[in-house]
């Protein structure tokens, strides 16, 4: 199947969010993703995270569904996210582009001037 080329382009933060969703698996909801991103040392607000999540959903890279409301969250439901096949392909494409552009190890470690 041939994908639209534009689907593959994801920004760096979008890539991190997709990776966090993949890492969390079935437990990928807003607060957990937020915490996972903060654990990487990156300062990110929940508002920025949700705008990114809605953009990724708009691009068809992730899907979401609502869970049950819980008392600990003031009676509010969790919104769970899942990476779709297009999202996984976008991640692979980003990874492949990065590898392609990465300098050779000799350059990276200062072996060759």
């Amino acid at each position: 199947m041939v994908m639209q080329k534009s689907t593959y382009y994801i920004a760096e933060f979008e890539e991190l969010v997709l990776l966090a969703i993949l890492k969390l698996g079935a437990n990928a909801y807003g607060a957990a993703i937020h915490e996972a991103l903060e654990d990487t040392g990156r300062s990110v607000t929940i508002g920025a995270l949700y705008t990114t999540l809605s953009r990724l959903e708009g691009k068809g890279l992730i899907s979401s569904w609502m869970g049950q409301p819980t008392i600990e969250r003031g009676g509010r439901a969790k919104k769970y996210f899942k990476v779709l096949a297009t999202g996984a392909r976008a991640l692979q494409a980003a990874e492949s582009a990065r590898r392609h552009l990465l300098p050779l190890p000799t350059f990276a470690f200062g072996g060759v001037q």
């Binding site: 909801y29 807003g30 607060a31 937020h34 915490e35 607000t45 929940i46 508002g47 920025a48 949700y50 705008t51 809605s54 609502m66 049950q68 409301p69 819980t70 008392i71 600990e72 969250r73 003031g74 009676g75 509010r76 439901a77 969790k78 919104k79």
Partner: protein
């Protein structure tokens, strides 16, 4: 604002008067095979389960508050016992299948019952954020913030948790506003294009 406050208080109200569907909706249900086995044995005994509400917080056990008991004989009834008078009022007759659902809900309640009231984040900051959010993401985003606020409160105390909450809300406004402006400018551009070409 009034509507928002009403919505915010919905979990602080007694759940004793709620229907089975509402109880089910508000609780995390889980499958308890032991309880289901007990029901399917067709035992006629009353299966005692009580949940009690007080000032919107949920408890499990005795006390002089409102009680709801679930009984099963040939049919299962959800019975509401008025506090003070002890008068029993049958809310609805249910099938054993529905009773299982309520039982699971009540079991879930036992796990969810807070020992002490959970800390509440600053209302004004929460309302400010509410104004900038789309209807479909309000519950999820504010719920996530509350969950993280409770975690910070337990770890660092109320003062730091509040500072974190205010900072998170204020820093979240810009990306949300930017999204709104991008959408609005898109509509303006579309309107302009239609005006020129149509």
């Amino acid at each position: 604002m009034r509507r928002w406050l009403k919505n915010r208080r919905r979990f602080q109200n007694s759940i004793a008067d709620l229907s089975k569907e509402q109880v089910e909706k508000q609780l995390n249900l889980y499958f308890d095979p032991e309880m289901l086995g007990h029901l399917s044995d067709g035992q006629d005994d009353v299966i005692a389960t009580t949940f009690i509400t007080k000032n919107g917080e949920l408890f499990y056990g005795g006390g002089d508050f409102k009680k709801v008991e679930l009984q099963t004989k040939s049919k299962t009834r959800l019975v509401y016992r008025e506090s003070g008078t002890g008068k029993l009022i049958t809310l609805e007759e249910t099938t054993s299948e529905a009773a299982e659902t309520i039982f699971l809900a009540l079991d879930g309640l036992d796990n969810l019952s807070p020992k002490e009231p959970s800390p509440k984040p600053p209302t004004n900051a929460e309302y400010l954020l509410h104004l900038f959010l789309r209807g479909d993401e309000r519950d999820a985003l504010i719920g996530d913030l509350i969950e993280r606020y409770v975690g910070k409160h337990e770890r660092f105390g109320e003062r730091r948790a509040k500072v974190w909450f205010y900072s998170e809300v204020l820093r979240s406004l810009w990306p949300l506003l930017k999204r709104f402006l991008a959408k609005a400018s898109g509509f303006i551009a579309l309107g302009e294009w239609i005006r020129r070409h149509v």
